[in-house]
Amino acid sequence: MTPPVPRPAPAPPGPMTPEPARVLSTRRESHDTVTLALDAASRRPFQPGQFNMLYAFGAGESAISMSGDPGSPGVAVHTIRAVGAVTEALCRLKRGGVVGVRGPFGMPWPVGEAGGQDLVIIAGGVGLAPLRPVVYHALAHRSDYRRVFLLAGARTPEDLLFRRELERWEAREDLTVLVTVDRAPSGWKGRVGVAPALLDDVDVAPGGAVAFVCGPEVMMRFCVRELGRRGFPDDRIHLSMERNMKCAVGFCGHCQYGPSFLCKDGPVLRYDRIRSLFWRREV
């Protein structure tokens, strides 16, 4: 009998090695979007706007922003839209399933910098996921801010994420929630129109307000233009940018946006610092 070949000592997990985490619960947000809560093993403190790399066994890895409450320990919450093989596999996970986690990564929304001012949060589609922690943070530190506005757009009423929560927030006195959809059947009582148009219903003094915007790039361009028309200074607009992401730690080069690596210098970038890139094609 041949002696077993001694295996090399396991390497310390490097920045590219995911750590398995169990799915505590799943919630279907819409026909293609699921929220997963992962157990404490994967739980590290995070700041609103940061993301994890989630690995579905055998399928691959995808950058998914944290969508949970940064102030409540115990679980890591991710809201995932099934748009490719990896995210489809992640969305198929059941309670008790296991997912690989690396992170959290990235520069967060500057929630501190917005203190003492009006906070205008504009979310389009699944862009609401990385902004939900901002709402949790603002509500937990409500006296740090003046008025807080959450403007959310989606494709149809069925695509709206966190509907019950949005309804609860709409009922609050200390938070203005405006929701709109691009198209709706006649029975829909909410707004129909694009997210940047919601700014018509928001009366903020541009000099005393900070805007956080996340959504498809085209939608963010419209938001920046509308904010500009209302006199919002460029340095008070923060955008969450998106590019292909592979390593999340600044090695692989994929997520470059001009001189920024979105994985470590972003995804949240201040508009005045990326203005010339933002309007350029194929950057």
């Binding site: 995808s62 490719g84 707004r191 129909v192 129109g193 959504g215 498809p216 939608m219």
Partner: protein
């Protein structure tokens, strides 16, 4: 607030000299629409310009097999109903109050006569209409891009 005061406060008259606003005031009557009320229907005679004061109005198109689809919302400060600008003057959409809505209805025939008679008034109103319509066009373009489809 009476009709004249509401007219004065509406963005439609922003920047207009008082004398011109006063000339429009007799054309305006207040209109209230309870939630769900139909303000006008596609094909009906387009006989008024509505200046929405408060509430929200859905512009809808009926699609066979799909029912009524909401295309756009209008709310306080917006203009509703410009089909009378065109020959024939028929509404091209349904307008329905999604919430209780208040508006000023300006008689289209009389308004047209005023605009034709006074170049300064006509120009000022045209400017306002163009700006509002262009903004709505920009939004319609963004809507048409369907940006949330396939985005992850």
């Amino acid at each position: 607030m009476n009709e004249a005061e509401l007219l004065r406060k509406h963005p439609f008259t922003r920047g207009l000299p008082d004398a011109l606003v006063q000339r429009l005031a007799p054309l305006a009557r207040r209109a209230r629409f309870p939630e769900g009320a139909v303000i006008f229907r596609e094909g009906g005679a387009a006989d008024a310009l509505f200046l929405v004061v408060s509430g929200r109005v859905a512009l809808e198109q009926h699609v066979p097999g799909k029912g009524a689809l909401q295309l756009e919302n209008l709310s306080g400060g917006d203009l509703l109903g410009l089909s009378w600008l065109f020959p024939g003057g028929r509404w091209t959409l349904d307008a329905r109050a999604v919430e209780e809505t208040e508006a000023l209805a300006l008689d289209a025939g009389a308004l047209k006569a005023q605009l034709d008679a006074d170049a300064a008034l006509g120009f000022a109103v045209s400017q306002h209409v163009i700006q509002q319509l262009y903004r709505r066009l920009e939004r319609a373009r963004l809507q048409r891009l369907d940006v949330y489809r396939g985005e992850g």
